[in-house]
Point group: C2
Chain length 332, copies 2
């Protein structure tokens, strides 16, 4: 089952159900008015949505074309957005460029940060760029959206709490990261609003591609219509979503609708390309005599697209297609 | 106007309005079903709540006694909870104990972290302690609850976005802090659920005690019925809420209901006592020959209470009164 959120002027939008071919959808707000309401009462809502899906597939429900511009993030605001860093190749690469090794603890102790969740962008929403010197970058990630999770949940018991799987662009202001992390309290200004692909999908939609707490899929990234990444999402995800969930639930409980991200998808084999510009810049630094990156960060007018495919070449989450728009420099 | 949230079995509780004397309240869910819904439509909801308050004060509305056990946090779950660290005495003291100076940037660049906001405790909810070795501590803080805030909002324009002011206990697991901050991504496991005093109050309730973007009030902290803190909340708050808001809005917008905290209230004059145990422990380390703290962190059975008073000795936010309860040690 694949769910999307139609823009209707309300803060949380309107729940809709996507047809299996991904081209059309139908309003499902008579079952739950929005996705948060659906997740809040998933036990009763899910069976009704599945009945509706059967009706829709049988052609007995009127549908509208999927129009990215009319769609918000599946959750336009969420109660928590927690992002991991599970593709160790990414962390290893970035450290290598500054001559450092990956600490051994990175292999055993998951790294997560608490992200801002009150404003989440839709798949075609502009990325506002106030100042090109901030170093605007994208990050392609897989995420899970949870039901209620009790404190102390262990990895072995974690996966039944996964209600939906999603694709996101974790927009990052790279040049704000080092000074912010040096302050010691984690990311804040360096992580502006995150954008989501239109469809949040139940784990069964992935079939055999959902196992070991990971999504084993193919992520494609385009920059200005040029394919820059064609990555495997499963193999190199060092910590599974189950392990991430155990880590974050060690001292806390979570309410339905909490989102946990994988961190930037990254493959050690460079022929897979990139899901964020900083990796390419790092490879350029490592490969060049002058130790300087050649690829610029995003500029006004640049377009970023992301899509994830299963073995049948089905675009599971629909497409992120965002444009960078100059928004007037903020005074400091 | 003072608002509270009655436990009614729903996730977000039921909006209620508190009588001026703070002893009784009335269901206001016919105006907005819960506080988030009120904040989402504040422009239309606030005048209706003020009309209801006038009716209540005139004795024309039935009221019930305020019962801490029946109250949840004003927002039992919020879209964002952002905590500052604005009382520089706290940061200075903690650094002094390890022989370090406060970096000069702390005077000009506010320090904030993104907290977990999906599960917020009510004023009488137990603090679950899984493992005394985690070093359980309380932190008394003032917070503001915001309306919608556009990206790029400046300090000079910030205060009209403050809808409500609140009191909270930012529960912290001290012994998890150093290893977690060393990982570089900020707090996570070290910050379990935060607890809130029952009443969220409009700024006009503070009268002259709300100026310069700070609440100029008296915060009292009790540990096992013994007064351990009697602090001034205004004077030593180095960054105002307006400055905090400018800082966090530099690259992001915020949805209604976002909470921003002041950080642990702390006064340089030690006769004011403490709003968190780690400060007393730090003073003990600095004063003793063996450089060891004497005061233990919280143990099962300990009781923490907090209350904030104005110049007329009115308890503005009602009382936090929590007990620490052993919850069975989590396996590692």
């Amino acid at each position: 089952m694949r769910l999307a959120t139609l823009r209707d002027g309300t803060r949380d939008g309107r729940l809709s159900l996507v047809r299996r071919d991904g081209t059309r959808l139908a309003d499902a707000s008579h079952i739950a008015r929005n996705l948060q309401a659906a997740l809040d009462a998933w036990g009763t809502v899910e069976p009704r949505l599945r009945e509706m899906e059967a009706e829709m597939e049988a052609g007995r429900i009127a549908t509208d074309p999927v129009d990215l511009e009319r769609l918000q993030a599946p959750l336009p605001r969420a109660y928590e957005w927690i992002d991991g860093s599970t593709y160790l190749n990414h962390a290893r690469l970035v450290r290598k460029a500054r001559g450092a090794e990956l600490p051994a603890s990175f292999e055993t102790d998951p790294l997560v940060y608490q992200g801002g969740s009150g404003v989440l962008l839709g798949p075609a929403d502009d990325i506002l760029l106030h100042d090109p010197l901030m170093g605007l970058d994208f990050e392609g990630e897989i995420a899970v959206i949870l039901g209620d999770v009790p404190m102390g949940t262990r990895a072995a018991d974690a996966l039944p709490h996964v209600r939906l799987i999603a694709l996101l662009n974790d927009v990052t202001l790279r040049n704000l990261v080092p000074p912010e992390l040096a302050k010691g309290f984690g990311f804040f200004q360096s992580k502006p609003a995150t954008a989501f692909a239109p469809f949040a999908v139940t784990p069964d939609e992935l079939g055999a591609a959902w196992h070991d707490g990971r999504a084993w899929l193919q992520m494609k990234i385009w920059l200005n219509d040029r394919l820059v990444g064609d990555l495997e999402t499963g193999q190199e995800m060092h910590f599974s979503f189950a392990q991430l969930l155990e880590h974050v639930a060690h001292t806390r409980a979570f309410t339905a609708g909490t989102i946990i991200g994988s961190g930037t998808v990254s493959n050690a084999d460079p022929t897979h390309g990139i899901s964020c510009l900083v990796e390419r810049r790092t490879l350029e630094v490592l490969a060049s005599a002058d130790r300087q990156p050649k690829t610029p960060f995003l500029r006004a007018g640049d377009r970023v697209a992301m899509e994830v495919f299963d073995a049948q070449a089905r675009s599971l989450f629909g497409r992120i297609e965002q444009k960078v728009v100059a928004a007037g420099r903020l005074a400091d």
